[in-house]
Symmetry: C2
Subunit: 457 residues, 2 copies
């Protein structure tokens, strides 16, 4: 392994330049006008995968954006890793809040600022470099490797389940490796053993056929913006508990040992609050901040739009009002069940004075694994070598629905081995990646393949 | 008068062409990028006023948009009319809902479609044509006339009070005439004897310093979009009564004779509902639709904006949320008092988990007059001649704050003599004006000056 590690340690500047090129492609999967950029990014990844020595590299068309595939299967008898990552990124608005352009990666104070730096291009690229190092120095990998890169993770992975189902035999492996999660905090590398699921929906209300003068008509008709506020407010009680009937039926309670372990984590609530710039931390009564974000479901409003929102004033009763909302789910909630309960509840609480439309956008299942799984333990050892530190075992509040897919369709465990930091603005302006975590992450990834090679299948 | 009436009746086509030129100027006072257009519109009006024979025509600068002034004072001993109108218009968004471009006036089925057609350019122009007819046929008006046209009515008339105060002697008159109101319905010309006032404000909330990933942070911090919904929902109780303490203290109760008179008005609630496209009419318990819109105060949300509002989904906890809200006031509520009560209440109900900013945008006092005032009676006779019908005496839900200003500063009664129709979309897409009302309105205006000439001062 030493020659691999030396190779990595002498190539840091070159890695940065290459990563900047990948981050320059605005592969925003949510926006139709970026469809060409998403494809360009898929092709960039495919070319890079060929260059570092992967074989059978190709793009699989889907009804949306393509999946990039590549493999190296020259280690018969050794375990096979199925690596999953995504090359699409979140939208960048409000773009005026970015301190440097989102698609011109810029280093400030050891951090690389760009959309996708942490989520997920930087972490995918970390594995490219780990693979490259093995291949260049030894002409081979210690394991068999299959890579798939998705272009629709940020819009709900609508076509990935079908892709995995249609290619079950090609994707056969022993373990899935995903680097799309975070470290507990700076200097504390972590293995994630639980994720939340997601249901995302849009509520549209119509009060009248067009906007009305609020003087002439104010008082006579329902105001859809006001009704929307009323509907949203009925989603949670004063204690922050979600009021949708049946919502908590399948929620797995936190184990007492988990709660105890989390209390011992180096979590500084005061700093957390200050870093976010929040006047106060608030949430469901009876749970700590970590419990609220890792192990309890949520209801959030992601967007609101109605009426006049420009500068100045316009005395209008809006004809329509819209909210984007989402719920994070925890084991063993099912997204389809929750989406149905949500829709029924909204229909029940919405008054008959407005027309209501509920559109389900996307969803994903929550997930949890045992942390005594041998692959998870192998990842722990890789982190110890790459970062020179004991890893923490944590859950994460975010959703990677594909983890549940791999478990269900391919029967594979996943190792969530991520180097993002919680304050790196994954879905916000000024997304960034700590470069020392990136360099350590390349080392740890290279070691991970070696450690997985030693696991008895 | 017959020669004046003949003059008007033979010039309908020419009137339409001239009015189209006025409506082509996008004098949107709310939008800074239209400042030049607002000035151009003021100059267009000044030129037209000179052309029809008014004197001393000029623009008075204000800190905002100019006031256009002109007079004709050649009838010593006769009453003096102070005519007030406005040449600015509302914004046009959402512009894609317009069936023809808002600044290319288009006739369809006897209706003239354009922003400003009814509110208020069409009604100002109606008086231009009535004055022109007297001047061309007789070389004089039967009364003295002072005209002022404001360029900031749609943004709250912030500078008009000061203008009126600074020019008290120049504006001295016997009665104010304003055509910026509506007829009760098609075929029912009306005199308005009451108006609602207004308080308009913006609520801004900040939860965190930037948008957050709703997975990583969902559950731990306040969501400002959700908190905004909670604040708004606390503005009214289930019966539609506003919950701001002290809000109703100065509300003048409806008189029993008024309620009885309104019950006899030709108001078709079913048609009203159908025209608006509202699934249901709803409002304050215990009041009819006319009572709710004419004589009861309201709280409305005029705009909402927060988080991601584009196509698709973005799993973000918004950093900020904004609502534009307004309250219509009735006699004897005072806008300053209500604005203060509102702000105190919002501050009281807003949780400490968000930063709150309340910005007062503009306001105006409610107004009512006696309908046995001799000038109001003169207007009634003018309508009888112009429209061949008895006028109705009604209130209006909208606000014309300047009416209260003229009463307070100049001690003048106002005659509200309007030809708009309730379904003409004054502040919405596809604003339009009924052309037969316009032509009858020119006749009625010409007769109005004659009738006012006969009032004993």
């Amino acid at each position: 392994m030493n020659n691999v590690i030396d190779f990595i340690n002498t190539r840091r500047d070159r890695y940065l330049d290459e990563l900047k090129a990948l981050l320059a492609i605005p592969s925003i999967s949510a926006l139709p006008e970026h469809k060409g950029d998403v494809l360009r990014c898929a092709e960039w990844c495919a070319n890079e995968m060929r260059r570092i020595g992967l074989e059978n590299v190709r793009l699989f068309e889907t009804p949306g954006h393509p999946v990039v595939y590549g493999d190296w299967l020259g280690a018969p008898g050794a375990p096979t890793i199925l690596f999953y990552g995504h090359y699409d990124v979140q939208p960048v608005d409000p773009v005026d809040l970015w301190e440097s352009p989102p698609f011109e990666a810029t280093v400030r104070d050891g951090e690389l600022y760009a959309r996708g730096a942490a989520d997920d291009k930087g972490q995918v690229f970390m594995h490219f470099k780990a693979i490259e190092a093995h291949m260049k120095q030894n002409g081979r990998l210690p394991v068999n490797m299959k890579l798939i890169l998705e272009g629709e993770e940020e819009v709900g992975s609508a076509n990935l389940d079908a892709f995995v189902r249609d290619h079950q035999s090609e994707l056969a492996a022993d373990v899935v490796v995903i680097s799309d999660t975070g470290m507990f905090e700076r200097g504390v590398p972590s293995i994630t053993y639980g994720l939340r699921g997601l249901v995302y929906a849009q509520i549209d209300l119509r009060g009248t056929k067009s906007d009305l003068h609020s003087g002439s008509f104010g008082g006579a008709v329902a105001n859809p913006a006001y009704v929307l506020a009323q509907i949203l407010t009925q989603m949670k009680d004063r204690g922050g508990r979600i009021k949708i009937p049946g919502f908590y039926d399948d929620v797995r309670a936190l184990r007492e040992e988990e709660r105890e372990a989390w209390k011992r984590l180096p979590f500084n609530e005061k700093k957390y609050k200050k870093d976010l710039g929040a006047p106060k931390l608030v949430g469901e009564t009876g749970y700590s901040t970590l419990e609220r974000t890792w192990a309890r479901p949520t209801f959030e409003v992601n967007g609101l739009l109605s009426g006049f929102t420009g500068e100045g004033s316009k005395t209008v009763i809006p004809a329509v009002a819209m909210a984007k909302v989402s719920m994070r789910l925890v084991p063993d909630q099912d997204p389809d069940t929750i989406a149905k309960l949500f829709e029924e509840y909204v229909k029940k609480v919405a008054p008959r004075s407005v027309e209501l439309k509920v559109t389900r956008m996307h969803g994903g299942k929550p997930w949890m694994t045992d942390f005594d799984n041998p692959y998870v333990q192998a990842a722990g050892r890789a982190i110890r070598t790459g970062f020179g530190q004991e890893p923490l075992f944590i859950r994460e509040g975010g959703s990677i629905p594909v983890v549940a897919t791999f478990q269900e369709i391919l029967g594979l465990p996943s190792v969530l081995f991520g180097i993002g930091l919680p304050d790196e603005n994954a879905h916000a302006p000024n997304e960034h990646l700590d470069l020392s975590n990136f360099y350590n992450g390349v080392l740890a990834s290279a070691v991970l393949y070696q450690e997985i090679a030693g696991v008895t299948k």
